[in-house]
Symmetry: C2
Subunit: 312 residues, 2 copies
C-alpha cells in the first residue's frame, strides 16, 4: 500500500478486484442484466455526486441522439461561450442513459464548464458504428450551439477511444474540429497490443487483465471487424492535424501503454500533447472519489489545458 | 515481448537482468573494482558512440571541478550561445571520469548543443555532499560561460536527482537558475517510497528491484543522513520557482512512480512541466542504443523543449 497517495486513493488501491472482471455473460439478455446492475448502482450515486459538484443535469436531444446537458451552478465568465462534449466509458456497452454522466459531472463541477454528455447507442443491440455515428451526430449538432474552437471533446476508456475516433471522423468528413481534446486512458488499441496489458495484468484492480470482461464487451462493439481499423483502434490512425490533447493515466493502469503510445503518436505527428500519470492509480480511478485531492487535481489540470487552448 | 516498440528496444526488453543487480560488494575496494569494470566497458564503447553522434569530447576544469566539454561537429545558429550542463547517472557511485559522458554525447549529438558533463566526486571516497558541491561549483563556473537563461541542466537517474538538487541549492544560495531542466527518471525519493518499486519490481531489467545494488550505492552517498532531506530526496522539496522541466521514463521503469510524482509536484507548484513515458522501457533505456528510433525521439523531444524555453 503506497504512502505516496491520498487516503482516498489508498482506499481504492486496497479495494478488491472488480467483482465482474471475469464474469462473462453468454447471451444478450445476460449482458443486459449485468449492464443494468451497474446502471442501477450508478444511478443511486448520482444525486449525491451532483450535489457535491454543484451541477444540474437535464436530458436533451441532438438531431435524434439522446444526451444530457450538465450545467454547473456557477460558470466563470470566460467559460460562458464554451461547451464541452463528453463521451462516457464502459467498454462500449455499459453506463447507458443518465448513468453515463458521471465523468461529465466531475468535469463540469471542477472545471466550471457546460458539458453535453452523449448517450450513444451500444451493444448488444447496436454494435459499431452505431455508437460512433451517434457521437458524430451529436458533435455536429453541438457545433451549432457554440463555436467549434470554443469546444472540447473528452472521455475516458471507451470514451477516450470515441474521443479520438470522433476527431478522425470529423477529419474524414471535413467537419469542424474541436479546439482541444482530453482522451483519458483511451482504449486506443483493441488488438491486445500494449506492454502494460502484461506488466499491469492483475495489478490493475479495475480492468484486471486483458481478454476479460471489458474486452468481451469491446468485442460486442467491434463485432468481427478488423481491429486494426483506425476507427476501432485509433493508435493506428494518422493523428496529424489533431487538436491539442491532454491524456491521463495511472502507474497501475492496464491501459498505461495504450495511453502513452497515443501520446507519443500525437507528438510524432507534431500535435501539442500533454501526459499526466497519477501515482498508484488503476484504470480511470481519477473519477471515482470526488473528495480525493488527486481527482480535483486531474480535472483542474484538464480544465487549465482547455482554458489555454479553447477560444472564448 | 511487445510488438509496440522498435526491434532495438525489443532487444533491450529481451535482455537478461543486469548481471550485478544484486551483487553487493562488502568493502570500498570491492565497490571500486565493480565500478572499474563498468568504467572499462563503457570506455570501450565511447569512440564508436562519439563517431555515430558526431561529437568531440575534451577534458576541462571548472574552478577545480573536473568536467568534459562535449561539442557537436555542427551547431545550429540558434544554439551557438547556449550551453547545457550534464550530471551523469550511476546511482551516485558509478561512471567516473569520461565514462560519465554517454548521455551528454546523446544530447549533444541529437540536439546540436554544447554540453558540459560534470565529473563530480563520488563514494566510496566522497559521500554527500561532495558530489552535489562539485555540481554546484561547476554550475557557478558555467554561468560565466553563457547566460544562465540560455542554459539547461539535465541528467538521468542519480543525475536526475542531482539536477533537481542543483536547482534547490541554486535557489538556496541565490545563484542564477537555468532556463530549463530535464531530470530523466530521477532518483527523487531515496526512502523507498514510490508504488512502482512494487509494481515494476522484477519487471524492470536494469535496476530490477528496490534495495538492490543501485540503492546500496545510493546509501554510500547518503551515508546515514536523513533520507527525507530534500537535497537527498528532492520529491520532498518545495519545487516552486523551478524552471520549466521535461521528465522522461518508461512503462517498465522501477522509477516510474518517482518520475511521475516529481511531475505532479512540479505542476502543483505551478511549474511548466512535461512528461514523456516510453512504451516498454525499463530504467533509462532511452540512452542505450543510438540507433533506436525511440532514442532519437526522446532526445529530440528534450531538445525541442529546451529550444522553446531557453534564451538565445
Amino acid at each position: 500500500m503506497p504512502e505516496t497517495v491520498s487516503p482516498q486513493i489508498q482506499k481504492q488501491i486496497a479495494a478488491p478486484l472488480t467483482p465482474t472482471w471475469n464474469v462473462i455473460p453468454t447471451t444478450p439478455e445476460g449482458w443486459k442484466e449485468q449492464v443494468n446492475a451497474g446502471y442501477q448502482a450508478t444511478m443511486k450515486s448520482l444525486p449525491a455526486l451532483r450535489e457535491a459538484l454543484k451541477v444540474k443535469v437535464e436530458p436533451v436531444t441532438l438531431d435524434g441522439v439522446k444526451a444530457y446537458m450538465v450545467t454547473p451552478d456557477t460558470i466563470p465568465a470566460k467559460n460562458r461561450d464554451r461547451l464541452l462534449v463528453h463521451v462516457h466509458g464502459g467498454c462500449f456497452v455499459s453506463f447507458p442513459g443518465e448513468s453515463g454522466t458521471v465523468e461529465a459531472i466531475y468535469m463540469a463541477g471542477f472545471g466550471g464548464f457546460k458539458v453535453l454528455s452523449v448517450d450513444y447507442r451500444m451493444p448488444p443491440d447496436h454494435p459499431y458504428p452505431a455508437g460512433l455515428d451517434d457521437a458524430v451526430t451529436a458533435w455536429k449538432a453541438a457545433t451549432k450551439m457554440a463555436k467549434p474552437k470554443n469546444m472540447a471533446i473528452f472521455g475516458s476508456s471507451a470514451g477516450g477511444n470515441l474521443t479520438l475516433a470522433m476527431v478522425l471522423r470529423a477529419k474524414q468528413e471535413k467537419l469542424p474540429l474541436p479546439g482541444a481534446i482530453a482522451p483519458g486512458t483511451p482504449m486506443s488499441d483493441l488488438t491486445g497490443a500494449g506492454d502494460s496489458f502484461q506488466t499491469n495484468g492483475m495489478v490493475d484492480n479495475v480492468l484486471v487483465a486483458y481478454g476479460a470482461n471489458c474486452d468481451k464487451r469491446a468485442a460486442l462493439y467491434t463485432a468481427g471487424r478488423d481491429l486494426k481499423d483506425p476507427l476501432l483502434s485509433p493508435v493506428y490512425a494518422d493523428l496529424s492535424g489533431f487538436p491539442p490533447a491532454i491524456l491521463t493515466s495511472g502507474t497501475r493502469d492496464l491501459l498505461l501503454s495504450n495511453t502513452v503510445r497515443v501520446h507519443r503518436k500525437l507528438r510524432q505527428a507534431g500535435v501539442e500533447a500533454t501526459l499526466q500519470v497519477f501515482e498508484g492509480q488503476s484504470h480511470a480511478q481519477y473519477y471515482r472519489d470526488a473528495g480525493a485531492p488527486e481527482t480535483k487535481e486531474a480535472f483542474e489540470e484538464i480544465a487549465r489545458f482547455f482554458d489555454k487552448h479553447l477560444g472564448k
